[in-house]
């Protein structure tokens, strides 16, 4: 079977979220034709953090075909380019490119129309995108165009005979999982990228690039993005190696100076809980949680944060969590690896002083 995956770019390469979606899509593409008798045995199940299940199939196996859809010039996918290398390395055999002359920018409805057309021409049985802002938006449009259901933030999917597809998807930003049946001949899915590790295929595919000329309808480009040229400077919360978190325990907007200083010393950034942004102590873009940013740092130092579940949804993918909290019974302690019991207003300045002293003596 053919699986189509919408691929977003990051500079000259493929966006990390799309590599995760391709990993998922490859698992879905493989076994379809390989094992027509056992419809329930195929598919991909990457619900855990172990990417080991990713290579259930590949493009080499019995006709399973993984095709990428990109909005880019064909030259951006030449074999020596980063994007061309990554697609081939992830097992993509065919890339359909829609060049800027066809469609000059991001237009959600037009992108969905392109995918709808490619379902027809390729006979795709599944279309996937990463669960990013654009991925979710385009797949919602595709669901509406096709008059078909769309399952958001899937962690596993497999064909299920006549019934359609068995899927597991995230609810509550991943705090809850839903096992469901998607009743549709063509599965339309977004992939929960925080649940899937990006994993190259066992063998490289020979990538064929197709210049696709889509048939767009009037009005498809009525909503089109213009992107600002300037990139916001500094380290982003989503990709920071160290995040120093502040919650209600910080006490007010003036209490963040020591946290900022510590973050600066550690080459990280400050993140905050929802109550901090609801109170207007810090801007919303610093929020870690279900309604803010999901973070994946080496270290998350959570100061004065009780650990409401909506916050945990945003920081659970941190490699190490250390809590500083005056309440030894705070829920954050059952998500943290280490804790200091005490007032952050005492502990953090002392920590800053100790790191500075260490720097001087070093």
């Amino acid at each position: 079977m053919t699986v189509l995956c919408l691929v977003e770019r990051d500079g000259a390469g493929v966006a990390d979220a799309s590599l995760r979606a391709l990993t998922f899509a490859r698992g879905l593409a493989g076994p379809g034709d390989a094992d027509p008798g056992g419809a329930d045995q195929g598919g991909v199940d990457l619900g855990g953090t172990d990417p080991g299940g990713a290579d259930l199939g590949g493009v080499g196996q019995a006709g399973g075909r993984l095709a990428a859809v990109l909005f880019a010039g064909a030259e951006a996918l030449a074999s020596e380019t980063p994007a061309g290398q990554e697609l081939a390395g992830y097992g993509v055999s065919d890339a359909y490119v829609i060049e800027p002359g066809q469609l000059p920018g991001y237009a959600p409805l037009a992108w969905a129309r392109v995918l709808a057309g490619l379902i027809e021409t390729t006979g795709a049985t599944a279309v996937l995108a990463a669960g990013t802002d654009r991925g979710a938006e385009v797949m919602a449009h595709l669901g509406a165009l096709a008059g078909a259901p769309m399952a958001a933030n899937c962690v596993s999917a497999a064909p299920s005979g006549e019934a359609g597809w068995r899927i597991t998807r995230q609810r509550w930003a991943g705090l809850l999982l839903e096992d469901a049946v998607l009743e549709a001949p063509t599965a339309l899915l977004t992939v929960a990228t925080d649940a899937i590790a990006p994993t190259p295929a066992a063998g490289r595919a020979a990538l064929t690039v197709h210049r696709h000329e889509p048939a767009l309808a009037d009005g498809d480009q009525a909503v089109m993005a213009t992107e600002s040229a300037e990139r916001s400077g500094g380290i982003s919360l989503a990709t920071a190696r160290v995040v120093v978190g502040g919650g209600r325990g910080v006490g007010g907007p003036e209490g963040f100076a020591p946290l900022e200083e510590l973050a600066g010393l550690l080459g990280g950034v400050v993140g905050v809980s929802r109550v901090v942004t609801s109170e207007g102590w810090r801007p919303h873009k610093q929020q870690v949680g279900q309604t803010g940013t999901k973070i994946t740092p080496e270290l998350y130092l959570a100061c004065g944060i009780s650990g409401a579940i909506q916050h945990i949804a945003g920081c659970a993918s941190a490699k190490h969590i250390v809590a500083v909290n005056s309440d030894a019974g705070a829920p954050i302690l059952s998500h943290a690896e280490y804790a200091v019991i005490g007032d952050l207003h005492e502990v953090i300045p002392a920590l800053v002083a100790a790191i500075k002293a260490r720097g001087v003596s070093a």
């Binding site: 990051d10 959600p108 409805l109 802002d133 654009r134 938006e137 797949m139 919602a140 669901g143 509406a144 259901p149 769309m150 509550w172 705090l175 809850l176 999982l177 839903e178 096992d179 469901a180 998607l182 009743e183 549709a184 977004t190 009525a222 993005a225 213009t226 992107e227 600002s228 040229a229 990139r231 916001s232 190696r241 550690l266 990280g268 609801s278 801007p283 919303h284 873009k285 309604t291 270290l299 650990g307 579940i309 909506q310 190490h320 250390v322 809590a323 280490y338 804790a339 200091v340 019991i341 005490g342 007032d343 005492e346 502990v347 002392a350 920590l351 100790a354 790191i355 260490r358 720097g359």
Partner: protein, 255 residues
Amino acid sequence: MEILVCVKRVPMVGGKIVVTGDGQDVDTRMSGFAMSPHEECAVEEAIQITERLGGNVSVLTLGPPDAAEQLRDALALGAGRAVLLETDGREWGPIATAEEIVAEARRRAEADQAYDLLLLGNEAADTGDYQVGVRVAHALGWPCVTGIKGIEIDDGGVRARREYRGNEELFEFGLPAVITVKEGINLPRYPSLPGRLRAKRAVIEEHRPQWRPDGLRKVALRVPETERKQATVLGTGADAVPALVALLDELGVLP
């Protein structure tokens, strides 16, 4: 400017989520309910727009009779009219939900009070389907953008902004339109006492749509298995700092 804001009643989950014995729902016996967070901001945004440009804010929810509580919350903040699409408590999927919102928009258009703008949350906190607004826009033939963090409206139309990979992207289009917003677009106000009193007395318009299945059929809900840790306590107060510094050193995050 006639604005309709679609909101959802969701459980307030504090420390953890518990699933009911039959695996079909979140156990809400111990939790309160609230408006889903992005939608709280959608209500605020609608009120701010009508404060600037004039007009009326209507608020709609599809949910059980108790969801009237969330409608009254929105009325207390300044919405002028509320519509309850009352259900029997069963969960509705995004396709059927969108169809009922479309039906409301058409009812108002037929009554010569057509909406100019529909605001929704980017996704509901509980089901997280990420699609109701887009489906509504398709059925009405209106432009749509999702995940918006800034809206400006003038005679020329709408300018809507969102973040994309550290940049900002801007969309410009005309009304009527559907926009889904994210928390952070504004800081919702607190209700005033007169607002609360007005909300308490307000009459809520009610309809009872017929439940039907969506194409995505829930089998069961479950809480993902995660290792339940208990933190190793490094020490108490500033006395713990040497141990903390040693740990940070071990983790390789010290300069």
